[in-house]
């Protein structure tokens, strides 16, 4: 599904990713953990194709295709979805209208006609029920005046609507109370299949109790310094990151 090869990336003069290697296969859940400033969000943004970051070395492949020349919207059309850590507000554009535009743009890229209104409504009903989202919520302006939790739940709703091949959840758990966390995690678990993959970026092991990862990677200073199974997350919870930092120095 996703293959990242010796990836180096920087913003302006600052090198943030310093040689990332990562392979994610269909059906897998990977967790990426690490201290603040280790490059987790940068990695997510680079996979999604954010132009602000310059790739100086290495490649990102999706299903064998080098994404180097692929625009962010084309990556989205190919099935990459990023749940933003800080979702932006778009005043005057309702969640429904935004999703309608997004779905139809993706369909257009694939040479399909717009989704019939009836099917769209059905899809919206189905996915909003799954994530226990009030229908009134969907007519509100995108993220405007949403609480932190509402924003995150809305991100997962969009993910459910778009049914991506590769979903990257960038600190989706931050700002969620325990109930919202459970609903969001349930949603993600229901969407999981043998054909798609999920990368979960988080600080805490709490989310990983609900979305159980097959692999856990620790990012430090722009590199993956340790990989393991879900037990690694528990170990980190207990010991913090310092022992890993020291290990890397040594």
């Amino acid at each position: 599904m996703l293959k990242i090869n010796n990836l180096h990336a920087r913003v302006e003069d600052k090198e943030i990713l310093r040689g990332i290697n990562l392979t994610v296969n269909a059906g897998e859940v990977h967790a990426i953990m690490g201290p603040n400033g280790s490059g987790k969000s940068t990695l997510a943004a680079v996979i999604a194709g954010k132009e602000e970051f310059e790739i100086t070395e290495g490649e990102v492949y999706l299903e064998g295709e080098n994404l180097d020349e692929t625009s962010p919207e084309d990556r989205a059309h190919k099935g990459i979805f990023l749940s933003f850590q800080y979702p932006v507000e778009i005043p005057g554009v309702s969640v429904t209208n935004f999703m309608k535009t997004a779905i139809n743009e993706s369909r257009k890229a694939k040479g399909l006609d717009d989704m019939p209104a009836k099917d769209m409504l059905k899809l919206i009903r189905e996915k909003s029920e799954m994530l226990e989202i009030d229908r009134k919520f969907l007519s509100r302006s995108l993220n405007e005046g949403f609480s932190g939790g509402e924003k995150k739940r809305n991100e997962i709703f969009q993910m459910a609507m778009l049914e991506p091949k590769l979903a990257i959840l960038d600190e989706t758990d931050s700002g969620l109370d325990i109930d919202a966390l459970r609903i969001v995690a349930n949603g993600v678990n229901k969407l999981k299949s043998k054909d798609n993959a999920v990368i979960v970026i988080t600080h805490y092991q709490r989310l990983l109790e609900y979305i159980v990862p097959d692999f856990v990677h620790v990012l430090h200073n722009g590199k993956i310094v340790k990989s393991g199974t879900k037990d690694l997350a528990l170990e980190l919870e207990e010991k913090g990151y310092d022992w890993l930092k020291q290990e890397t120095v040594v």
Binding site: A48, G49, K50, E51, E52, S71, P72, E73, D74, R75, A76, H77, F81, L82, F84, P87, V88, I90, P91, G92, V93, N97, F98, T101, A102, I103, E105, S106, A109, S141, Q158, L162
Partner: protein, 481 residues
């Protein structure tokens, strides 16, 4: 795909005016310059009665004494009023029974504009009175309207056929001496539309006019008069486009609305005159006076989408004279390249329990300057007057400007006035967020701009809203349209 502000800017600059063609129709054009003889000649040409000629001459006298106003936040080379021709009419003055008789080249022009008469005729519920180079050349649906007693015709025709109404109301809301351009218009207005809705009649269709400036160097001086008698209702649409031209074209229209007791007038405008090229050369000077008078329980709504003109100076206003009357102003003004817009409204509260709402959305791109200027005035006798104003600005790029000049004058303690203003910028983060959901940058900008303008777009009649949305996209984007 990279999409930096730099590139966005470049793309916006290269958007050419898509209606920039010129129709070669034989015209009957007066020599340049303005004096009493010209004023008399215009009046004669239009076969006007003496009282009208005298009214024009009086206006001309007033205008001669006035100076061009300079308070607006716009910079331009003042027109040389002696270098303008004050009358131009399509030569074969048409008195057609059917479209077949209309100059085919003219019909072709309308087709290019996407408003072919054929189409318009079929569009149920829309009557079109087309003003091209100042003379009405076709009026449709007249019969249906006549059955209800509704008069919808050119102002010239109204002067001849309904002098009692014109005499009573012309200049009653915008007096000849009101301002420099209104005085000029009163002296030389070439044509325009007239509409009268009788007592208790609800106009069954949207009344619609398309204005178009076409003759090189010809000033366009439209005069519109809409009268809604007691308890009546009318929705009036005005839409404009103009061909590209190198020299600046002057447009100084006057629109007067009279809403008698318990009546309602909804006046919607989509204005898309040539804004000049990307270096800021050419383009229409648009100095318009629009004002409505509300009697008891009457309501006037102005809705405007302004995307065109090099310089815009326009303040559709309401005089809330009658008790319980309502004034509304909904505006979207888009400026790009070197366009300058100074637009807003005046809400004059004279009666008791009068209410007004102002929603203004300014969108600036390129090197343009976009100003909102509004006055809310509450008179000493206007007990319990209420106003709500909201002025939002959206900026694209770093070289444009947005300005807000709200004036509030309150002489009655029971007044409640609210004013809100915001300024925002289309951010790269917003664009990237949309991109990530599969929406390309162009579509993303359209989505954001439409969202920003939604409160106003919602006020437009359906068919106009679609056109307006398209215009917003054309005005701001590289390849849409």
């Amino acid at each position: 795909m990279a999409y930096t502000e730099e590139e966005l800017k470049k793309e916006l600059e290269t958007k050419e005016y898509e209606y920039g063609f010129y129709t070669d129709i034989e015209s009957d054009t007066f020599p340049n310059g303005l004096n009493e003889e010209i004023v008399i000649a215009i009046s004669k040409k239009k076969e006007e009665p003496e009282w009208m000629t005298l009214w024009r001459l009086e206006s001309f006298k007033i205008w001669k004494e006035m100076v061009e106003p300079e308070w607006a936040n716009v910079k331009y080379k003042k027109p040389d009023f002696q270098a303008i021709s004050y009358y131009s009419a399509p030569n074969k003055k048409p008195k057609y029974d059917s479209l077949d008789e209309v100059d085919p080249e003219l019909l072709d022009t309308f087709k290019k504009l996407g408003i072919s008469l054929d189409e318009q005729k079929k569009l149920a519920g829309v009557a079109v009175d087309i003003v091209m180079d100042s003379v009405s050349v076709a009026t449709t649906f007249k019969k249906t309207l006549a059955e209800k007693g509704i008069i919808f015709c050119s102002i010239s025709e109204a002067i001849r056929e309904h002098p009692e109404l014109v005499k009573k109301y012309l200049g009653s809301v915008v007096p000849q001496k009101d301002n420099f351009y209104a005085a000029l218009n009163s002296a030389v207005f070439s044509d325009g539309s007239f509409c009268y809705i009788p007592k208790g009649v609800r106009c069954p269709m949207e009344l619609s006019t398309y204005f178009r400036i076409n003759q090189a160097g010809t000033g366009q001086f439209e005069r519109t008069l809409v009268i809604a008698d007691e308890g009546s209702y009318v929705s009036y649409l005005e839409g404009c486009t103009a061909p590209s031209r190198d020299e600046n074209q002057l447009h100084a229209a006057v629109v007067e609305l009279i809403a008698l007791d318990d009546s309602e007038i909804k006046y919607s405008t989509v204005q898309n005159w040539f804004p000049g090229n990307k270096e800021g050369v050419g383009g229409v000077f648009n100095f318009v006076t629009k004002r409505g008078l509300c009697e008891k329980n009457a309501k006037i709504s102005w809705t405007q989408v302004e995307t065109g003109s090099a310089v815009t100076w326009k303040y559709p206003s309401c005089i809330l004279k009658g008790d319980n009357s309502i004034g509304e102003f909904y505006s979207i003004a888009v400026t790009n390249n070197y366009q300058q817009a100074d637009t807003g409204t005046k809400m004059i509260h004279l009666g008791k329990n009068t209410r007004s709402t102002i929603i203004s959305k300014g969108i600036s791109a390129g090197k343009s300057q976009n100003s909102y200027r509004g006055l809310v005035q509450v008179n000493s006798r206007a007990d319990n007057a209420r106003n709500f104003s909201q002025c939002d600005s959206l900026l694209m790029g770093n070289e444009c400007g947005a300005h807000t000049f709200p004036y509030i004058e309150v002489r009655n303690k029971s007044a409640q006035i609210e004013h809100e203003a915001t300024t925002s910028k289309i951010g790269e983060d917003q664009i990237f967020y949309c991109n990530q959901r599969g929406i390309n940058t162009e579509k993303a900008i359209a989505l954001i701009v439409n969202g920003f303008s939604k409160e106003v777009l919602n006020k437009l009649p359906m068919e106009f809203a679609v056109e307006a949305q398209k215009l917003l996209e054309i005005s701001l984007e590289g390849s849409v349209g």
